[in-house]
């Protein structure tokens, strides 16, 4: 019997194990003095996450939830000497407490049947603050780059999907909930579509590798939300039982696949940071030659997370696609609309994710190194990539594993589709191998591979500065989506004599829209309101005595009147 608890506990245990092995080498040099603090928070985080999954009752759940937030905030703050880390920790703590607050309100309202909508709304806010629903995702792109890589791996792979766990646990998806299924479905569907498309769109221009991965987490949570939303909607429209089970299975399978793939990617990003000291993709490059294991594992996992066959990321998305297409065919206009929405958003998301990951692979690992650090990088200690191999093997096992989970959940509905998908994937891999063999052994000169200079319009000896940077790679798409991204550009034009101009420069920065465009104005407005209250606290003793006097008089009058 595979229960919901098991599904969400597996990523916690596996990703935490890999992250622990990775962390033993990741924390090096000066930082090793604070090793004790790191392990305390690490163990507390993992323990509280397991508690969230396994405790019974609302109050223990809330306590475990709050403990999880606080313990992981300790991990985020590990390198707290840097200003950006301090800022990120603040934002993360704020998000955790706001989430806990919303969940308490939801818990109070939960038991009253007439307040279902209010309870659900607060739960979406509370759990969404963890799962990164837009616009509550603002902490993700701040906290993930600030936290040490093993902590980011756990948070992104295992912790943020717990938001979905909480949501399904308290608002279970079953045939009985058809009354409110429409609200549940449309809410998650809308949040999922915005999250998936917005997340991956903001991932595109990021030059910081971990920030890119963090935005990609927002995207993947959006994909899961789309699956669950479709599931609830099919229930609400009295669709076939197998159909909504299929959508749910797709979402659940994607939780696992995302955990293993993203966990490994964050660990690889950590290895890159440890060996080069930077995460800026425009300053990296050529690392596949210097760090062959880390680079190869990163490439495999990135292809998986871009949702391309034959790897596991594709199978979960395929389940959501199949449900969407069957919903289109069902004849119910509402379901057909939802199906089209999901299929088209998923297609666009997938294509954008492929671009973002091509950029991550290309910018970080391919071509020539663009800085001293990248050129002089060396491979990591063995245990760092062994941790990644562990997660990658789990990902590969998830190719048949996803098919089995879908079979298990739906009881064999449309399973042949997923089995053939896996077989065609294997056929694809076999074709690659046979073409490589053909090229090597059958072609007369196939194994001769002379090294030649790159073609740059006839100029030999190109420098790494002439190659395309990661930012340049995505520039056409980010330019197209400028109205949404609102990137800031700092241009330093040519100066001096046109024949021998000075260096020109351009720098672009894309901040999160939700943080800069929504939360910062909201919070600064709140701060301004509370500034007025400062009048009462101006430090003058006379004013305080006056206030106490007025309060006592008012109480006296009130007592006399009653």
């Amino acid at each position: 019997m595979i229960s919901l608890e098991t599904i969400f506990a597996i990523p916690i245990l596996t990703v935490a194990a890999a992250a622990a092995v990775h962390a033993t080498a990741y924390i090096h040099g000066e930082a090793r003095r604070h090793l004790f603090r790191f392990w305390c928070f690490f163990i507390a985080t993992v323990a509280s996450m397991l508690a969230v999954v396994y405790v019974d009752g609302k109050l223990p759940f809330l306590l475990a939830w709050e403990a999880m937030g606080l313990a992981s905030a300790g991990l985020v703050a590990f390198e707290s000497k840097e200003k950006s880390v301090k800022k990120a920790t603040w934002i993360y703590l704020l998000a955790c407490h706001a989430g806990a607050c919303a969940l308490m309100l939801a818990g109070v309202l939960y038991s009253r049947p007439d307040a279902w909508i209010a309870a659900f709304a607060f739960a979406v806010v509370g759990f969404g603050l963890k799962a990164g629903f837009p616009p509550f995702h603002a902490w993700l792109p701040e906290a993930h780059p600030a936290a040490p890589a093993p902590a980011s791996a756990i948070m992104s792979g295992a912790m943020i999907p717990l938001g979905f766990y909480g949501l399904i646990r308290f608002f279970p998806l079953s045939s009985e909930c058809s009354v409110n299924g429409a609200v549940f479905g449309w809410t998650l569907l809308a949040l999922g579509v915005i999250g998936a498309l917005g997340g991956i769109l903001f991932a595109l221009p990021q030059s910081n590798l971990k920030r890119l991965l963090a935005f990609s987490s927002v995207e993947n949570m959006g994909v899961i939300a789309m699956g669950l939303g479709l599931c609830a909607l099919v229930i609400a429209r009295d669709g076939k039982v197998e159909l909504w089970l299929l959508a749910g299975a797709g979402a659940i399978v994607h939780v696992l696949n995302h955990a293993f793939l993203k966990g490994s990617l964050f660990l690889a990003a950590g290895s890159v940071l440890r060996q080069t000291g930077t995460l800026d993709q425009d300053r990296l490059g050529g690392l596949l030659k210097k760090m062959p294991f880390t680079g190869t594992l990163f490439t495999i996992n990135a292809i998986g997370l871009a949702g391309l066959p034959p790897l596991n990321g594709f199978i979960g998305e395929l389940a959501i696609y199949v449900t969407a297409f069957l919903a289109i065919k069902s004849g119910d206009p509402v379901l057909a609309f939802a199906g089209f929405l999901v299929a088209v958003s998923l297609a666009l998301t997938g294509a954008l994710a492929a671009t973002a990951y091509a950029k991550a692979i290309g910018g970080t690992f391919l071509g020539e190194g663009r800085s001293e650090e990248a050129i002089n990088a060396t491979e990591t200690p063995k245990r760092m990539y062994i941790a990644q191999i562990f997660l990658t093997v789990l990902s590969l096992a998830m190719i048949p594993g996803s098919v089995y989970l879908i079979y298990y959940t739906t009881g064999g509905y449309k399973t042949e589709v997923f089995i053939t998908a896996a077989i065609v994937g294997a056929l694809f891999a076999a074709l690659v191998v046979s073409l490589l063999i053909l090229r090597r052994f059958v072609c007369p000169r196939g194994d001769e591979k002379p090294r030649v200079p790159v073609w740059d319009c006839g100029y030999d000896a190109p420098t790494a500065r002439m190659a395309y940077t990661a930012t340049a790679f995505t520039q056409p798409l980010t330019d197209l989506s400028r109205p949404i991204l609102r990137s800031r550009r700092h241009i330093q034009p040519f100066k001096g004599d046109p024949a021998a101009p000075s260096d020109a420069a351009i720098a672009t920065e894309t901040d999160d829209f939700a943080l800069g465009g929504l939360w910062r104005p909201v919070f600064s407005r709140i701060a301004r309101v509370f500034q007025r209250v400062h009048l009462l606290q101006n430090g003058s003793l006379h004013l305080y005595i006056l206030i106490i006097l007025i309060a006592v008089l008012a109480l006296l009058v009130a007592a006399l009147v009653s």
Binding site: L348, G350, A351, V424, V432, C443, G446, W455, A464
Partner: protein
Amino acid sequence: MNILSVILAVILAPLFLGIVNQTKAFFGGRRGPGYLRLYKDLFKLVRKSCPRPMPSTWIFDIAQSVSLASVIAASIVFPWSGVGIGSSIVPAVLFFYILAAGRFFTVIGALDAGNAFEGMGASREMQFSTLAEPIVFVILGLLVMLNGDVSLTSVLAGVSSETWRESIVALILVFGAFYAVFLLENCRVPFDDPETHLELTMIHEAMLLDVGGVDLAFALYGAALKFELLAAFLVTMFVPQLSNPYLHLSVIFGGVALISILTGVVESIMARVRFFKTPQMLLGALLMASLAVFFIACF
């Protein structure tokens, strides 16, 4: 019969690009390179060695093989003669995702060469294919709505005469939208020009600048097979399934030859558009596809 038709498709693929080139030569008043030019080129290339650019790694080495493997895998599951190998269960989504996986490898292979032009080509390729993806999936949704199931055979079950009568406008719109995707995916005018010789204006060809020998043969052959495959997809969308597989196969190949001639004509009478106009053209194709869905759903 199924295996036979796949083998036939694999053998015939370079011929159709020959048809395109001969059509263009006819319009240009030239004699043209001949229908079998690509076969001769491929034969010449497989006897050469594969030069590798200095910065490249194993990704560059396998990129063209993966890209060709993806197209071959997609052709194996394609229902050439009405029923294909497993195509009655293979989901249509998988068909397009396998092609996308091949393209992904071409792109990272190009980035691996570490040169400005290949990076530029890779960047443009990703931009345009990203914009084409929603069009494909709107059309797939429409086909599922018309024909009933997610598998490749049922998506391509063909349009019944009844649908032809009722919603001819929608079908023309679908043809236009998919034809735009077809031209884009195969790097044809007006989106890309396979014959351009200036690196700055290349898209797909720019990614192959440093590819040579057997790898170049793989890339050229893969492009030819993809051309044939997507043209066959376009034809099968509209041709009702015939009971005789031989007849079906010959109708499909006849249709692909017609599409090749049409492409030759389009290339002869049209100039390629500027890069900045391409997104607008793709948006137009997306609107056409969505309008077709609207027509079929509402009338």
